[in-house]
């Protein structure tokens, strides 16, 4: 009994695509909300500056905050992508392990380094 490499590749692609499809929707939605929100924030600050309501220390606060909001948006995106990478990595391992199990004829516990 042998492992069919072509079938294994198909199974791996299937596992990865299933995860990516769902996660990409969530991540894209989040990204769109954040980008629109940041644009709104910039516009509100500009309005406040134009009508004199935002100046001095208050303006400094809002400008620093815009940088912080953007940096944390990127940090969150990286966090979401890392979770997706983890899910795909582990799904691929399970597909490979299952293929080895079928050939070995025994149930193998998937080792992990959690």
């Amino acid at each position: 009994m042998q492992i069919d490499p072509l079938l294994l590749v198909t199974d791996i692609k299937g596992a990865a695509t299933a995860i990516l499809g769902k996660d990409v929707t969530t991540i894209t939605g989040f990204s769109n909300r954040q980008i629109n929100g940041l644009a709104t924030q910039a516009s509100l600050v500009a309005t406040g500056v134009a009508n004199g309501e935002i100046a001095g220390d208050t303006l400094t606060f809002f400008l620093d905050q815009l940088i912080d909001l953007t940096e944390n948006f990127v940090k969150t995106m990286v966090g979401l992508l890392i979770v997706t990478i983890e899910k795909i990595w582990n799904a691929i391992v399970k597909v490979i392990w299952s293929a080895i199990e079928k050939v070995a004829g025994v149930v193998l516990p998937v080792p992990n380094i959690h």
Binding site: Q2, T76, E86
Partner: protein, 167 residues
């Protein structure tokens, strides 16, 4: 390529496979914590209630009530930051590899790992600023709108990330 053979040979093959696979499944992100997720929802509700009151205006006579609401929200957010610090962090070796992969593709998270902590820090900054302005010059409509929008963005970051950890 593995063939069906004798039991000892199979055991040797399994041993070999296990020794090669010593770093199989990994954990690159923290585990989902229901208490943190619930805590964020509570904090969001408190924030929205505060801003609903602010949008109606911020007269001097209701300053003590707003101070109490701000202090309560501050306490909730600081408690969440402490809970976060107690959360176990995954092995950084594999996390660093994943981050390197993303950096090479133009996504640099910079130093510091937890986006939820970054969001909570930002939210605490908003509460402090509202308290400062309320005591000093008052809170205009535009300033309230800007703080509310920033608050929603920070909560979106934290809540989206924490929900995503449920896997």
């Amino acid at each position: 390529m593995l063939k069906k053979t004798s039991l000892p040979a199979r055991i040797i093959a399994i041993g070999l496979a296990l020794s090669f696979a010593v770093s199989c499944t990994v954990k690159l992100a923290p585990s989902y914590d229901e208490k943190i997720a619930t805590g964020l929802t509570t904090a969001l509700k408190e924030s929205l209630i505060l801003f609903a009151a602010l949008e109606e205006g911020a007269p001097a006579e209701s300053l003590p009530a707003r101070k109490t609401a701000c202090n309560s929200l501050q306490g909730t957010l600081e408690a969440l930051r402490i809970q976060l610090k107690a959360r176990p962090v995954p092995d950084t070796k594999y996390l660093d590899n994943a981050k390197k992969l993303l950096r090479e593709r133009g996504l640099d998270a910079g130093s510091g790992n937890d986006p939820t902590d970054g969001a909570l820090r930002g939210l605490l900054g908003i509460v402090a600023e509202i308290k400062r302005l309320d005591n000093a010059q008052g809170l205009s409509k535009t300033i309230v709108a800007a703080h509310r929008n920033a608050m929603i963005l920070y909560f979106d970051q934290a809540i989206t990330y924490e929900s995503f950890l449920k896997r």
